[in-house]
Symmetry: C2
Subunit: 218 residues, 2 copies
Amino acid sequence: MTRSEENYIKTIFHIGRQGQEAVSTNSIAEQMETKPSSVTDMVKKLSDKNLVNYKRYQGVSLTDLGTKVALGVIRKHRLWEVFLVEKLDFSWDEVHEVAEQLEHIKSDKLIDRLDRLLNYPKYDPHGDPIPDKDGGFEERDKKLLSEVAVGEGGVCVGVKDSSASFLKFLDKNNIALGQFIQVLEMEEFDGSLVIGIGDSTRQISHQIAANLYVKIKE
Amino acid sequence: MTRSEENYIKTIFHIGRQGQEAVSTNSIAEQMETKPSSVTDMVKKLSDKNLVNYKRYQGVSLTDLGTKVALGVIRKHRLWEVFLVEKLDFSWDEVHEVAEQLEHIKSDKLIDRLDRLLNYPKYDPHGDPIPDKDGGFEERDKKLLSEVAVGEGGVCVGVKDSSASFLKFLDKNNIALGQFIQVLEMEEFDGSLVIGIGDSTRQISHQIAANLYVKIKE
DNA sequence: ACAAATTTTTAGGCAAGGCTAAGTTTGTGT
DNA sequence: ACACAAACTTAGCCTTGCCTAAAAATTTGT
Ligand SMILES: [Mn+2]
Ligand SMILES: [Mn+2]
Ligand SMILES: [Mn+2]
Ligand SMILES: [Mn+2]
């Protein structure tokens, strides 16, 4: 597996997660900031290697083998992100770029030992689940904060958008994973929310609420 | 800098260390298990980028910029080796291959933090010095065990050959860095030595002695 | 000094992974 | 039903890094 092949597989996996149908050439190209024609070339190669199912003009989906490869790369990516935060004091908005490089290092022993060093973490710094050695992972049952009813609340367990700018915004506003957030009011006009975190209350836009996952406490 | 360029620069640095003259195309090719014609191609590219001094048929040497790049890659390689041994319990014969991959990860912050995590080590698991951020490093004054006079001894501080087979041999014979080794006898016929380590004595071939560095205790 | 051996370079190609421009196929609106 | 737009593929080209075979420069041996 080349670095490029791994990146395509990973992208196809991620796009495929939301909406189960075949993944389109264009969506892959957009995600990877490359051209559709390049995607077609690569997809043929992946198909020859039995990593994806592909019929011309019909989009693409991962085979079982392809899924295994994707989960392996994602496992590495997320473990390295944990390493960077836990052991090297990176902040959660700095880790992704470096993990994009580290995820391609080839050594089973390395990744197993890293897992052990980090104490077998189940989630990465953004709240995303880390597949285990066999590709199994627990998707937490979570809800976007924007869909939580007024009066309810939950523990913040993840972000949907994990861009540096969003993460920095959260830092600046003292919103972090693990905190209990309560929806106090919802403004009909623009969907903005008044939320309670710890002792303080804050107003956040719909945009923000629609990118924060919480685990509902009934 | 591409991965390939970094590997060439590093190789030129290493060959250049023993014997100060210009490095030959053939020696680079041999070391990198590639062909001389490929070396010529790359060397031209490196010359264009001001990383090496090159005149046709005259061999090649690193510029100041090239030396800086080489030391940067070597710093990364050796720090990762320390990480693998100290934090992930790799043995010293397993680290090189993985470090060959890790040395190309691009992130200054990563390497600085790794250095800190490891407590600013000065030497790697094979006793080789780790350049600091500015490329400075302390070459220990050391001597091959094969050149130590009978009756003298010193602390084992490094290996010349760091192939897995040699390192495994040392492990099997309980020879490790940090141990005090005394040369008790030297056999004229084949250059083999009788050495004392701790309480025991052992016979080792010239081959072995010529690949072990010790720091003489006067 | 000079022919032979060795080293190094050049010429011409190949595979991977991109791109642009030009076809095909598919889906949509009327 | 069918024209047209959008999506997708193909054709042909580029760069990087590598190769083989052939040519050129340098070194060596006598
Ligand atoms: Mn990430
Ligand atoms: Mn993440
Ligand atoms: Mn090494
Ligand atoms: Mn080493």
